[in-house]
């Protein structure tokens, strides 16, 4: 649906992608570093006082250096993680739900040709980061557009709830076969996708006290984005 050059949500999306990728990497890398450090400690205890170690001073030196190098690698990674987390500065401000939906729909990158889009959104003002909220809506909307394969309907319904705002996106596609898998990072059944869209939407919903729910209906899928900022 996007017609211009500039994607208004590109910066926040890039920041999110970098943050999520770094977060996953951080977990895996730190596990590896933990094993290396523990093993070096064990070897140091076992070999450090042996005859072999007294014959060759480098053994003790290298075992010590493994530990310091692991610490240095972890520090480097921590600095990078901190940097990636600060790329997007969140500003909670009064945001029109109608405007957020409009930005999300207008900037969607999936084709809308042949798709009937219906929007029925109650107007409200909520305290939230405008870019993050619009990105979450766009992720859900793009997921729906891709599900209908250029033929079908996507309906967006927005309603005020006692503690926030709920957006329901209903598409007439095949439905989501593995709802649990849909949230797994880097899991996708679509060619050319990296599998982070619904995950990003869920993380944003959680950040604002809400949740993202997926249900398969008789016809298509229903994704509910609730925020309670």
């Amino acid at each position: 649906m996007s017609s211009g050059w500039r994607d208004p949500l590109a910066a926040v999306e890039r920041a999110y992608l970098l943050d999520r990728s770094t977060s996953l990497l951080r977990h895996d890398v730190r596990n590896k570093l933990a094993s290396i450090r523990n093993m070096a400690f064990y070897l140091s205890k076992r070999v450090g006082k042996s005859a072999l170690a007294s014959e060759d001073a480098r053994i003790e030196l290298f075992l010590r250096q493994i530990d310091t190098e692991v610490t240095a690698a972890d520090d480097l990674f921590e600095h990078f993680s901190t940097f990636s987390r600060t790329l997007h500065v969140r500003i909670k401000e009064p945001v029109s739900t109608g405007a957020a939906i409009a930005v999300a729909v207008d900037s969607a990158r999936a084709s809308t040709v042949g798709v009937a889009i219906a929007i029925d959104a109650e107007e409200a003002t909520i305290q939230i980061d405008a870019s993050e909220y619009a990105l979450a809506i766009r992720c859900v909307f793009e997921n729906a557009l891709e599900a209908v394969h250029l033929e079908g309907t996507v309906e967006i319904v927005g309603r005020v709830t006692p503690n926030g705002y709920r957006i329901e996106v209903h598409d007439s596609g095949q439905g989501i076969a593995q709802p649990d898998e849909a949230f797994r990072e880097f899991f996708t059944t679509k060619a050319g996708h990296i599998g982070l869209g619904l995950n990003i939407a869920r993380n944003i919903a959680k950040r604002y006290g809400g949740q993202l729910q997926i249900a398969t209906r008789d016809e298509g899928a229903l994704v509910v984005l609730q925020v309670s900022p």
Partner: protein, 161 residues
């Protein structure tokens, strides 16, 4: 009778103390390295899943030889480390045990975890300094032992009355 689950290991190092430690991590290399660094100082058992760990804890209690400390990774498939510890904390009849959550999460996430239960909970961030970790496990084991002693005194005092 509780059967010992598969995928679990027991290690008692040459200088292992009376303190019993259970280590839980789904990463086999992390798990074996933890067993190695704790094995000299504690009676260590290990497993790769929280569900199996709960069974091991039940077996240990049934054998009147409960664990003093349970160290668990946070992110694991199935039941994660925090759910596992919540499960432990709800067992009010179990002997006191100290729980140490090992995590690669950034500190701000750790700070958000609410833990209002009676069991002792500590965090360590991977990769931790092994020597300090061993000292911390010993400290937490002492706390569990002390709590058990206090509990036994309370029971004895009630019986006297």
């Amino acid at each position: 009778m509780v059967n010992r689950p598969s995928g679990t290991h027991a290690t008692a190092g040459p200088g292992s103390s009376a303190f019993r430690v259970l280590v839980v991590d789904d990463d086999p290399k992390v798990l074996s390295s933890l067993v190695a660094i704790l094995g000299d100082d504690f009676d260590v058992q290990s497993t790769d899943s929280a569900k199996r760990a709960l069974t091991l804890i039940e077996i240990a209690i049934a054998d009147a030889n409960p664990f003093h400390v349970v160290c668990s990774d946070w992110q694991m498939p199935g039941m994660d480390g925090l759910e596992f510890f919540r499960e432990i904390s709800q067992q009010v009849d179990w002997p006191s045990v100290s729980c140490i959550l090992m995590t690669a999460h950034p500190e701000e996430l750790v700070d958000k975890v609410e833990w209002g239960d009676r069991k002792t909970l500590g965090f360590v961030r991977k990769p931790f300094a092994p020597e300090q970790f061993v000292a911390r496990v010993r400290h937490y084991a002492s706390i569990a032992e002390m709590k058990r002693g206090i509990r036994a005194l309370h029971v004895a005092a009630r019986n006297v009355r």
